[in-house]
Amino acid sequence: MMIGAGILKGMAVTGRNFIGSYFEKDRLTTVQYPEERDVLPENSRNFPFLVYDTNDPEAGLRCVACKICEKECPPQCIYIEKSADKKPDYMGKPQFYPATFDIDISVCMSCQICVEVCPFEAIKMDKVYELSRRERFDALLMRRTDLAKSNSYYHSIHPLEAEQVDATLAAAAAKKKPAPTPAPPASG
């Protein structure tokens, strides 16, 4: 075989790809980022946030400061201080609440373990990714006020998962206290 035939064959492949990319739109895999944005899949995750019910990010917080996520977090980026007093939570039951809840997102590695270990469905993964900041220290330390996001926001980013969570929470609430609810008590 002629020397150089292999190279020419390779060049033909390159040429086909080059010209083909003008005619077949599905060959273009790139997205012109700041102008166009890919839709993130439902399971996409980057940093955790705290879910609150009702409209009050203070009182509606599901977190009861049990500190399980703080203990299980592999890079130890969560810092929680438990409150001294109890406040009624969104279901009216007196609970502790986090007096301080900080997540250092410069340390967080987005592993989702806090979400998995949380028994109260209080911490979930967010999808926001444009998080660049001008300062290194305080700006990347998310306080409780930055972290609290409403349940409807949770529904908007993880619709299927949030529905499941709502169903399990409603089932747990119905099972726990059928008597004090003003509505007719659920049987079983």
Partner: protein, 388 residues
């Protein structure tokens, strides 16, 4: 060099008592750690005679981050996301290796569907790894961009699958002791099938692009030969070993997961040179596609997680276990000693990249500097795994 500078150069007198030429002297060159072809921060102290390598000393540890010590100080579950960061191209198979050894340690059963999913994801990871390796290796040889972009186009499709399943493209953190974290999202399997069906087109195209290429043949054949004896005695595993003609694939030898249920062949090389190692990846990709099709056809319905496994406060019984898998780069093993507490007493990783790197000097001696890059590329290392 122009004539005038050459004349000036030769006019420089050697100091008295010094030989005027460097006869028999070796030139020490430090390649890396910031060399674009070293696949991360890896340095080679090379002693050259002219252009020929006479001595080569690998220097690594620049990316050391206490992986094993962190593993001993965090819970068993807490080590799982760290394993993603070992070989950051193949996080799914790293997850599997670690999950396998913890399951051995604690005697955990894995549901059938989860085992099938693990096979599918590990084989998809093999596609990612081998495709990117082909691109990187061609890049090392000077085919800048084009093959790498083609390979990354395919890789991106698979990473999209990983993202929609696990939430992250590269740091998947998907497997758990006793199963997998979440079930497939709707429509995932159809998309995965489309990716797998489209992959042979990429492979054909890629083979056309490179296999007959005279430059590639000249630069890889008879370069960096590794004999079967040396490969075995140095503990080389993975495609590098099989390229030397040794039939050793843990998927066949150990038969972990559900691999004995699938029909596939183990491709073997003959010469153990860079060309064989390169082509080994192409052949393995084709076999991998076969495994993927079988696993996708047979995927059963059912639970994805063993319900008996606790997520919080997981404490395996006292004992030790070594779990190993055929990662895309070779044998990836995790050795765990448990003292019954919540974190392992000893956590040791057997990284294929590090151990395959040990024969680098033997493969490079007698070749030129330019060949060193090709040989290093054909070993397929990731520094995250070498340094840990």
């Amino acid at each position: 060099m122009s004539l005038s500078t050459r004349a000036q150069h030769s006019a420089v007198e050697a100091p008295p008592g010094m030989p005027s030429r460097l006869d028999g002297e070796l030139l020490e060159v430090s390649m890396g750690p910031q060399h674009p072809s070293t696949h991360g921060v890896f340095r080679m102290n090379v002693a050259l005679e002219g252009e020929v390598v006479r001595r080569l000393k690998p220097v690594f540890g620049y990316l050391h981050r206490n992986h094993e010590k962190i593993g001993e100080n965090t819970s068993y579950l807490g080590s799982m996301p760290y394993t993603d960061r070992l070989d950051y191209i193949c996080s799914m198979s790293n997850n599997w290796g670690y999950a396998l050894s913890v399951e051995k340690l604690a005697g955990i059963e894995v549901p059938e569907r989860a085992e099938y999913l693990r096979v599918i994801l590990a084989e998809l990871t093999r596609l990612v790894n081998h495709a990117s390796l082909l691109g990187f290796l061609l890049s090392d040889m000077g085919a800048w961009g084009t093959p790498l972009m083609y390979a990354f186009r395919e890789r991106e499709n698979i990473l999209d699958l990983f993202e929609s399943l696990s939430g992250s493209r590269m740091m998947c953190d998907y497997m758990r002791f006793g199963g997998c974290r979440c079930d497939l999202p709707p429509g995932w399997m159809e998309r995965a099938r489309k990716v797998v069906d489209g992959f042979p087109h990429f492979l054909d195209e890629f083979e056309q692009l490179i296999t007959g290429n005279e430059i590639l043949i000249a630069r890889t054949q008879e370069v960096g030969k590794l004999s079967a004896e040396l490969a075995i005695s140095a503990g080389i595993t993975g495609p590098g070993l099989r390229a030397s003609g040794v039939n050793y694939d843990l998927r066949k030898v150990d038969g972990y997961g559900f691999y004995p249920r699938f029909k596939f062949r183990v491709p073997l090389g003959e010469h153990g040179d860079c060309y064989d190692r390169l082509m080994m990846r192409v052949l393995e990709l084709r076999e991998t596609l076969g495994i993927l099709r079988q696993a996708m056809d047979d995927l059963p319905a059912g639970p994805i997680m063993n319900p008996k496994v606790k997520i919080r406060a997981f404490k395996p019984p006292v004992g030790e276990a070594y779990g190993r898998i055929e990662a895309p780069k070779g044998e990836l093993g995790f050795y765990l000693i448990s003292d019954g507490s919540g974190n392992p007493y000893r956590y040791r990783v057997r990284p294929p990249s590090l151990i395959n790197l040990t024969v680098l000097e033997d493969m490079c001696l007698g070749h030129t500097v330019a060949d060193v890059m090709v040989i290093l590329g054909s070993i397929d290392i990731v520094m995250g795994e070498v340094d840990r």
